[in-house]
Amino acid sequence: MNDSVILEIKKISKSFSGVSVLTDVDFDLKCGELHAIVGENGAGKSTLIKILSGAYERDDGEIIFNGKSYENLTPKKAHELGIFTIYQERNLIPHLSVGENLLLGNEPIGRIGIVRWKQTFEQAEEILKRLNLKLNPQQTVSMLGSAEQQAVEIAKALYRNVQIVIMDEPTASLTRAEIDNLFSIIRQLKKRGVAVIYISHRLDEIFAIADRVTVLRDGLKVMEHAVSDINKDMLVKAMVGEELSITHIEDKGMGEVLYEARSISRAGSFKDINLILHRGEIVGIAGMVGSGRTEVVRAMAGIDEIDSGMLLLNGKELHGRPLDSFINRGICFVPEDRDSIGLISCLSVAGNTTLASLQKISHGPFLNLLYENELSSTFVKTLDIQAKSIHQEVMYLSGGNRQKVMVAKWLCRGIEVFIMDEPTQGVDVGAREEIHRIMKDLVNEGKTILMVSSDLDEIMNMSHRIAVMKEGVIVAVLRTAKTTREEVLSIAIGQSTSKD
């Protein structure tokens, strides 16, 4: 292995609309080395690799590649330098063959501009051989499994003279055997002097394959070590940081059971989920991205069907579709994606507020617009939604206010069970506090909230109980008052359940 540094990053900073995501992060990479980056959701891992792959522009700092400093890295420039990113979603052209994908844009061309197919597939075969891949270059990519497509992407990078491969959660959708396969491909790459940046929340993998590991927390680099010098406990401690003093949400003791999931499963998403929601309670679901959190809450909100198990409201079973039977009985879903799912952006604040309650504001088929105005004004006031008027289209509102309009829609309907996916994502600090206040008011009125959040602080501060999910299963249900941030995180990344 050659020890020369191929990439050096000095004091990289990045912020989005005033919120800093990365602050003065240093990072370096040697030829033939695998350098892992770990951190909680939102620690800044994705932002860092997006800067390296040219997708984002940095605010500050220096990127030195092969001893040369680069001012502006674009995706094209990064490719020219030999920096390739393998994302979680595949990046191949599905209806072309493996060979065509591998050589796309570089096909051997004859004298009059005609592609020489025989040569193309021969070259493709050669590349596949270099990685010990047993794939037919004539096979159509869409016929391949996800793991094989990933391998083709890596081979494609190799053909294009790759220097650095960046892998973002490459094992997220792979089986045990496929992971082993991937690791052997990675070892081949390293042998050829290719450097790898590897992002994963599966700590076992880090210890299996990484040479070095860097820990990010809240956009800061908090640790960098050779993997041989550390153990998992040290990693988890570094990821969590100091235990903050948590201001727990007031626990008034549990009310009666309001909504219950009994052993629900959905193929490919989650398995055997049991969850009880009491009146006056906020239950938080913690877990890494891809652990099945959103899928569970969507099913509990009646949006996706369950394959087996039961959903019980006040002890009575709810039957699948249609969706409005869930809404009629007081269960709503407040999605993470405000704009494409949560709201109708060209409709007014009033129109969005009453969207689910049109019955309430009409006599027969006719709308009572005065009553609609009155009703939506009430919600605008109680939730303190800042808009020019209730007739303003919601697309002109800030993220926090749009979030409140989504809540107003369901308050107007008289909902009991609020299922909220990332209730404060992308809103500013002030709006976040207000949304938290609204959530507390809701449960004080005897309603119940099931919340998914990637933000562990939000989970710790805002939930009475925490369900921790991992790989489609609830691995623990904890009372917030009796647990710590560190415990929740280490369960979520699988530390406590793995055998050392």
Partner: protein
Amino acid sequence: MQSGNQRVKTDRFAGLKRIINFQQWGIIFILILLIIVLGISSPVFLSERNIRNILQQISTLGILSMGMTILMISGGIDLSVGSSISVVAVIVGKLLKAGTPVGFTIVVGLLVGSFIGLINGLLASHTRAHPFILTLGTMTLLQGVAIIITEGYPITDLGKKFEYIGGAVIWKIPFIVILFFAVMLICFFILKYTRLGRKAYAIGGNEYTTYLAGIKVKLFKIIFYVIAGFLAGFASLVLSSRISSAIPTMGAGFELQSIGAVVIGGTPLDGGRGSVWGTLTGVLLLGIIANGLNLLHVEASWQYVVTGFVIIIAVIIHEHRAR
């Protein structure tokens, strides 16, 4: 919290603002300019008779476009309305020629239009294909049906009673113009003051969000197609009674004019916005251009060129405003 009262208030003039949709000022300006220019260059243009003539000419397109407005606000589109006009007309013509009572024939005509709308609605809501292509299919199919029914020949002289609809004048206003304005007011009322209308805006604005709010999106999409089909049938009756004949290709081209009028009127192709007043300006614009060029003895071929040009300009103005 304290300032919340002042910050958010119901806008008392919101209704007025929406009636005179600000986006439409550009089109209204063009309309006024056109009227002035035509008024100067043709002495006949502003005569009572010509104004009555224009209104009579736009009534068919107007009735058709009101249905198209509701449909397009909900995010749908129907290219088959022109062929529907032809099919309904030839069926009505055949029935009248066979001596069927006028009242019964009218009901059948409206039902046929609605039924075609129902088929389009079922296709649009229960398949993944784009309604543009689906209704292109039904458009072609129905054109064929219309020709098959009459073996290609026009049916003329539909009878005094039926002609009366198209020819009657009440207080100097042609009856069909009154029908057009009645349809327009009803559509305005539906869009603004009924749950159905609100759902059109909601589905056009964001179908999935509307579904998540517990609204039966598929059902309402079908209803909007049925409304468009019903009004196509209505327009067909008006047109065939006015000219007292049923020609198997008489509706051809109406679908594009109608979509053009709706788009000039400020309803975007992907829905969520729009109003009948906007569509009225679109219909008036197309009608006045056609009439004015006629008066100025401009050839029909050039009328197409001018109309196409105006549609392009109008759409560019809207796109510009939307930014």
